[in-house]
């Protein structure tokens, strides 16, 4: 067990289970998308381990601004699969009333913020949240995840500079999966991502995001730094996008040279191998973990599919705290009462 550092068997097994659940969920959703049951999906396949590591190190009071490709992170932080399906199916139980595309969650109860599509635009929000935390003497730091493509956005620049100038407790974690849709990271930027903090006086570190132990070790340093109030920190987690960018994407168009099964990078296989080698678990366990995940996910989707869509008239709610005459007039239009 020494090789796995201070981790207990329980922690490792939980991490593994959640990674497997996330992977299984990804595949289930992709399937459901093909069948027209779910509209869209951005799979986390290949990026599970860095997400799990963040989930393991983040405390309850820490606020996470996740991005659209963080399934494993939600699971590790305890979000039930039922809630994930409610959002993906955009049913009447969805906290967001079926307003957002799949993968755009707002799991406030689990101390997540809200996911949007415009890449990078949550980064400045996370800085504001950190300001508020310090101002209100709240416990906890702010963690924000994003892709390699996001480092090119104006929001990234604004956010890192602000976090640094105001010395805020924000941990920036870039999940560098090598691609922004079809654009490889080396055409996104000529610099190493973890060095981009230099432009703001923010320290940075690169970790192997496909390795749980390496991710935890690297992240721990970053968490400690930020938690001690020293200011923001930038982690680049090098990882691997096994699948397409999304269910709308066809990577064969741009990824021909590189089609592999990704197994040498697959973070789940790597953890499996490690666990087996260390004798934490045996092959039986692995098989049953996968079977359990599949059973849970199949059952949950079946169950959540029966929940009806949100009431149509709700599309006029929540534009404002109270609808103006405009929304009310338009609501009557839909009712046919106008």
């Amino acid at each position: 067990m020494a090789a796995l550092g201070n981790l207990s068997n329980d922690q490792i097994v939980t991490a593994y289970r959640n990674a497997v659940r996330a992977r299984t969920l990804d595949l289930k959703i992709i399937n459901a998308q093909r069948q027209g049951i779910i509209g869209f999906h951005v799979p986390a396949e290949g990026q599970e381990m860095i997400q799990i590591a963040i989930g393991m190190l983040a405390e309850k009071d820490d606020l996470i601004f996740s991005y659209y490709r963080d399934l494993a992170l939600y699971l590790q932080r305890g979000v039930p699969i039922s809630l994930i399906f409610d959002q993906m199916l955009a049913n009447g139980n969805d906290f967001q009333k079926g307003r957002q595309m799949p993968d755009h969650f707002s799991f406030k109860e689990f101390n997540f913020s809200t996911v949007q599509s415009p890449v990078g635009s949550h980064l400045p929000l996370s800085v504001g949240a950190a300001y508020s935390f310090r101002y209100n003497k709240k416990k906890g730091i702010v963690i924000v995840t994003f892709g390699d493509g996001a480092t090119s956005t104006s929001d990234f620049h604004a956010a890192l500079n602000l976090a640094s100038v105001f010395n805020l407790s924000v941990l920036f974690v870039c999940e560098n999966n090598g691609w922004a849709i079809s654009v490889p990271t080396n055409r996104q930027t000529k610099a190493d991502i973890y060095k981009k903090g230099a432009a703001y006086g923010i320290p940075g570190k690169r970790v192997d995001g496909n390795d749980l132990i390496a991710s935890l070790a690297g992240l721990q340093e970053a968490f400690d730094y930020v938690r001690s109030g020293k200011g923001p920190y930038l982690v680049e987690a090098v990882t691997y996008r096994i699948g397409p960018h999304s269910t709308s994407d066809d990577p064969k168009k741009y990824r021909v040279d590189e089609i592999t099964d990704g197994s040498e990078n697959d973070p789940i296989k790597r953890l499996e191998n490690l666990m087996l080698k260390m004798g934490v678990v045996d092959l039986n366990f692995i098989q049953s973990a996968k079977a359990q995940a599949k059973e849970e996910i199949d059952r949950t989707m079946e169950e959540r599919m029966s929940i009806p869509a949100p009431d149509p008239s709700t599309i006029f709610d929540d534009v404002y705290e109270e609808p103006s005459w405009i929304q009310e007039e338009e609501r009557r239009d839909i009712d046919g009462s106008d």
């Binding site: 906290f95 967001q96 009333k97 707002s106 504001g128 508020s132 104006s154 929001d155 929304q327």
Partner: protein, 336 residues
């Protein structure tokens, strides 16, 4: 140790001040900050400098750096960070130094601030005020003169207000503060120091969504707002026009009852604003009338507006609607 210069007592012991719009806004923010710890001020040069128009003067020394925040030069960052603060328990009043410089923040305003309540099913909200001076008449050329209200009025999820006098400036700012939604607070910079008015030395509200009828009249209705209000008032007064004048004050949502009401009363409507005509706010007013009051209209609905050009420097006086152009439209509808 507040100075009482320019103040005098009035009924009920409430101090009344003869102050201009900058002073009214400055005092409003001061009162809000004194009243509510969640309120902070942020933007470029809002601290020591007190804002380039002095709207945040002296607040830094009174409330300190944590509450009066000089930011780096990035409007996206200012608005994005303020939005995050607003989502997590604060009530920021963010300043964009000129409305012309709000466009770098446009994505944060339109895609985040305006849509966060909706996209989260009401689980998050953004009680944020974005103050920004707008309009011409200060020899600012293309980039210190724009009237961009349409960009915001077209954006559901935002509230858009603009005062035309020191009293409304206070009342609208307080009302904006009470809202739990993002408010674009447009300050007609030409009026900042143009006149003084009596403003009660306390927090009071001017209801958002309600126009002010500045003048009753029978022959023609003039619907306007912001910097054009004094021009319209002096025009109708100097020319003895029997006009009803509405100061909209809120541009989103507009006071539909007042608009329809006055159109039905006079049957003749002239809209005056400084923003370009095409899809200026006047277009929506006119469209509301064409939809809801067509039978009452006795004449074309005329729009007297800024031109569909960028804002010029040398000839800015030609760009901004003036008495001659307003009277031209009034004559036209009266003669119809």
């Amino acid at each position: 140790m507040r100075s009482l210069r320019g103040y005098r007592k009035r009924r009920g012991g409430i101090l009344m001040a003869q102050i201009n719009m900058v002073q009214s806004l400055n005092k409003s923010i001061d009162l809000l900050m004194a009243n509510d710890e969640r309120v902070v001020v942020m933007g470029e040069d809002v601290g020591k400098d007190g804002g380039v128009f002095r709207v945040t003067d002296n607040l830094l020394s009174k409330y300190g750096e944590e509450r009066v925040i000089d930011t780096p030069l990035n409007e996206l960052g200012i608005v994005g960070m303020a939005t995050g603060m607003a989502m997590y328990g604060m009530k920021p009043i963010a300043e964009v130094q000129f409305q012309d410089y709000i466009f770098p923040a446009f994505d944060q305003i339109v895609n985040n601030a305006a849509k966060i309540r909706y996209r989260t099913g009401g689980r998050f909200n953004v009680p944020l005020i974005i103050r920004t001076p707008y309009g011409g008449g200060v020899k600012g050329g293309l980039y210190h003169s724009q009237s961009g209200e349409s960009y915001f009025v077209h954006t559901a999820g935002l509230i858009v207000v603009t005062p035309s006098n020191p009293y409304d400036a206070r009342g609208l700012l307080v009302a904006a503060y009470k809202k739990n939604d993002p408010v674009i607070f447009l300050e007609p910079k030409r009026l900042y120091r143009a006149s003084r008015a009596e403003v009660p030395d306390e927090l009071f509200e001017v209801e958002i969504g309600k126009a002010s009828r500045l003048r009753e009249g029978d022959d023609v209705s003039i619907i306007t707002y912001g910097s054009m209000v004094p021009v319209v008032m002096s025009t109708v007064e100097r020319n003895g026009v029997n006009a009803e004048v509405l100061d909209l004050r809120t541009l989103l949502p507009m006071d539909i009852e007042a608009i329809i009401g006055t159109a039905k009363k006079t049957g003749r409507v002239v809209i005056v604003h400084e923003a370009p005509k095409t899809l200026g706010v006047g277009a929506e007013i006119s469209a509301l009338l064409a939809e809801k009051a067509i039978d009452s209209l006795l004449a074309p609905v005329m729009r007297v507006t800024g031109y569909d050009t960028p804002f010029p420097y040398t000839h800015e006086d030609l760009y901004i609607p003036n008495e001659k152009r307003i009277m031209g439209a009034i004559h036209r509808v009266l003669a119809y």
